[in-house]
Symmetry: C2
Subunit: 472 residues, 2 copies
């Protein structure tokens, strides 16, 4: 087992730059290899070794990991190899290489949360999602860099396509590791934008499920009504099968019974109508990224999808107007709900937490139960407005971020495209189908609460339509 | 700091037996001493020393503690003494001696949950309730015995009035310590009956608040929709002021904004109408305890309170009939919701968890999302039936347990009187006003969700009516 200290960015680390081609990503899809594992044409152990080889070559530049246990991972991959060869895999993700954001408890590796307060901390038991995936046979390679407590100082991770840029955050390490092909799947979390944004920046797929549909037990809490488990993966099929494996074994966060749908990703389904959303992020989005998005919308329309937008539909215009005001109440919800644990962390000494955490606590000190009730009501109004599209539209399409990853390692990027569906609490998928300025640009498909499988089917159709050669 | 190993009952420990007199309990009320602290007639430090003297004399027989730090407690009491003398207490509970069930995280003392898996475990940060009470100035004496993970094997604690008997559980140590006068307040938890039952057995007051009204962050989770923070205390005034101090500083579990009401306990208020409940527990209740309860009901009627019961009111009869069937769905809710973390604990090896935990996991394995949905619907039906009494009655009166503490150290007693209001999720108070066979017998007053202060006012009136001399 190797455990690295909590460190900031290392300016002396090697640089890496490679152009992004959505048709040739670095990703390593796993679930699609099932037939090869069954016949022995390849094995989970060989699959793991390819991930570890990528880790050996790229990790010095990317710095996605804070700890790992490669010997344990190889043993787990060998066990999965044996099960597949015997025709008895535990699940479709048996043997899948997995990395775990360091906000999530593991029984074997420390859980450090990018904070000196938790240096070397032993959580003793696996979080629900980790427990479930181990039961399903997945192979834990290691723990990945998070921003401090998923809301504070950035970590040392850099973008796998251009190390001068951020990987996004707070699930920085999971997105970078998956995007670089060091693992098939990475656990992240999303409280404001921490899964969809980094997945988009790093050229990975992701699912931020319906709030509560994947159990957050053992994920260090930040803001209970906002915290989601996020799945960052090499394909839609990988994130879907992973979500269903978690749901089958540990369900959702009570009282949510868990993500529902087929064990493997549903068949692609053409939507009749999609809502095009610009959000507050459009104003920040550079022309190259806008053009890439406009090309998607044109392709959808060309494929016969009716597009509703702020210009042709009053309800969309009203929703866009509503989205312009979400920042303040989103900050109030985060600040109020995270008072504990953040204040308990600060009790170790004000110098033990970063400036962003101090700022959140200062904001919380200005709130009271009445202002919290107003913020909850504001969010409910947004949810009600989205729910009115049920029956009128099949989903929502927008970018994952205001353009590709920015050249800033202290800021993980604007949350404006990711925040809306966090607040709505309904499913959102990141699809790494676009490119701008030679960098990954994520496309986001969002749906309605507890209809995650329907959103996945639409996401699959978009992928097949925009990148048809991937169907082969 | 002293940390004791996880141990079962010690049959060689000294015995203790003393008759219970509700007019002369061993309890140590704190909030009522405020004037004396202000004038210097006594001090928080002197108050603490009285608790520690009781601890020295009784703890060898009772075994309420698993760890303590008396030097730190004395320093904290001295600081509170200084603040009261300066006329600047941090809160009404500044300096109040507190003990913490060992299911609840503390930054200074280990959190061991009566399990070898967590021997010596350092949680690094205070749970929300502990953080809040330290901010409010309270003095943490130590951590108290819990049953294994609040649902498994019993610990070594014995009843403070008769060491041949159980203190109840799972909040065994907190109830015994408060009942014996070693502390004013003990944090407990209630998932089925773990606060109201032990408080009743040990001659202590308690508040099990509206579900979510007191933040459970940092309390090891068992079943999220059932887990409550419980306050076991020396008086109604102490538990109420403690609850409000917690609520002011950390609020409730999001999205609940927190317990609402006055900072100090509301004035006593005579109820016009109370519902007398027998529950499934009545059949188990011995004649001495039934007589004590009948005398209460007669006294209430004599004071002009209208009593609705299963014989004179159809709605009460229907509620009682409903309560007869709650055991099965309550077990299903507990088993399903506690799969994680219990399965993650068992992953340390089946020999590392007790038989009750194995049984819960076996029950969970027979459930599916449909059976969980049915259990949730069953509970909602119970809640709806209770809500129909709003406007018809002011509250509900019943026992805390099926008679006084039983002579069994392996079983913490029937949950039949405590379970209903756990499921209802509305406030319930334990009042140590009765005696049977020379032992404490708790009276329970229950109310409506988010109307905790109203239930407290009724509880205060009952206390003043049944024990009038305590008004002086």
């Amino acid at each position: 087992m190797t455990v690295l200290p909590v460190v900031p960015l290392d300016p002396g680390a090697p640089q890496l730059r490679r152009p992004y081609d959505p048709r040739q990503p670095l990703l390593r899809p796993y679930v699609s290899e099932a037939a090869a594992f069954r016949t022995g044409r390849t094995t989970p152990r060989a699959f793991l070794e390819a991930c570890l080889a990528r880790m050996e070559s790229d990790e010095p530049a990317i710095r996605a990991f804070v700890s790992h246990d490669l010997a344990a991972a190889r043993r787990a991959a060998d066990a999965a190899t044996t099960r597949w060869a015997a025709g008895r895999p535990r699940s479709p993700v048996d043997g899948m290489p997995l990395v775990v954001k360091d906000m999530i408890a593991t029984a074997d590796l420390p859980t450090q949360m990018n904070s000196p307060i938790y240096a070397g901390w032993d959580a003793r038991a696996d979080a629900a999602c980790v427990f479930a995936l181990r039961e399903a046979g997945a192979v834990v390679i290691g723990k990945t860099v998070t921003t401090e407590f998923a809301c504070g100082n950035s970590g040392p991770t850099r973008n796998p396509y251009d190390t001068a840029r951020t990987p996004g955050g707070s699930s920085s390490g999971s997105a970078a590791a998956v995007g670089a092909g060091m693992a098939t799947l990475g656990f992240g979390t999303q409280t404001h934008g921490s899964t969809i944004r980094p997945a988009g920046y790093c050229g990975a797929y992701a699912l931020k499920p319906t709030h509560g549909a994947l159990h957050v037990g053992g994920v260090a809490p930040l803001a209970a009504t906002l915290d989601h488990l996020g799945l960052i993966g090499a394909s839609l099929e990988d994130v879907w099968a992973t979500g269903m494996a978690i749901s089958r074994i540990v369900g959702g966060t009570p009282p949510h019974a868990g993500l529902a749908g087929p064990e493997l990703a549903p068949d692609a389904k053409r939507p009749a109508t999609l809502v095009r959303l610009e959000t507050l992020g459009w104003k920040e989005t550079p022309e190259t990224a806008r053009s890439a998005f406009e090309a998607v919308v044109a392709a959808l329309a060309g494929a016969g999808v009716t597009i509703l937008d702020r210009r042709n539909d009053d309800a969309v215009a009203a929703l866009e107007a509503e989205l312009e005001g979400i920042g303040e109440f989103a900050n109030d919800l985060l600040a109020w709900e995270s008072r504990w644990p953040l204040a308990a962390y600060r009790a170790h000494g004000p110098e033990m937490v970063g400036g962003r955490i101090q700022d959140l606590l200062a904001r919380a000190a200005r709130l009271d139960p009445a202002s919290y009730a107003r913020a909850l009501a504001d969010r409910q109004r947004l949810r009600d407005r989205v729910a009115r599209f049920v029956g009128r539209a099949d989903g929502f399409v927008m970018l994952c971020s205001s353009g590709p990853a920015i050249e800033d390692h202290g800021f993980t990027g604007s949350r404006n495209y990711a925040l809306p569906w966090t607040l709505v609490g309904a499913p959102a998928f990141a699809l790494p189908l676009l490119e701008a300025d030679g960098l990954p640009l994520g496309l986001q498909i969002a749906g309605f609460a507890d209809r995650d499988a329907e959103a996945c089917a639409i996401a699959a159709w978009l992928r097949d339509t925009l990148l048809p050669e991937q169907e082969q």
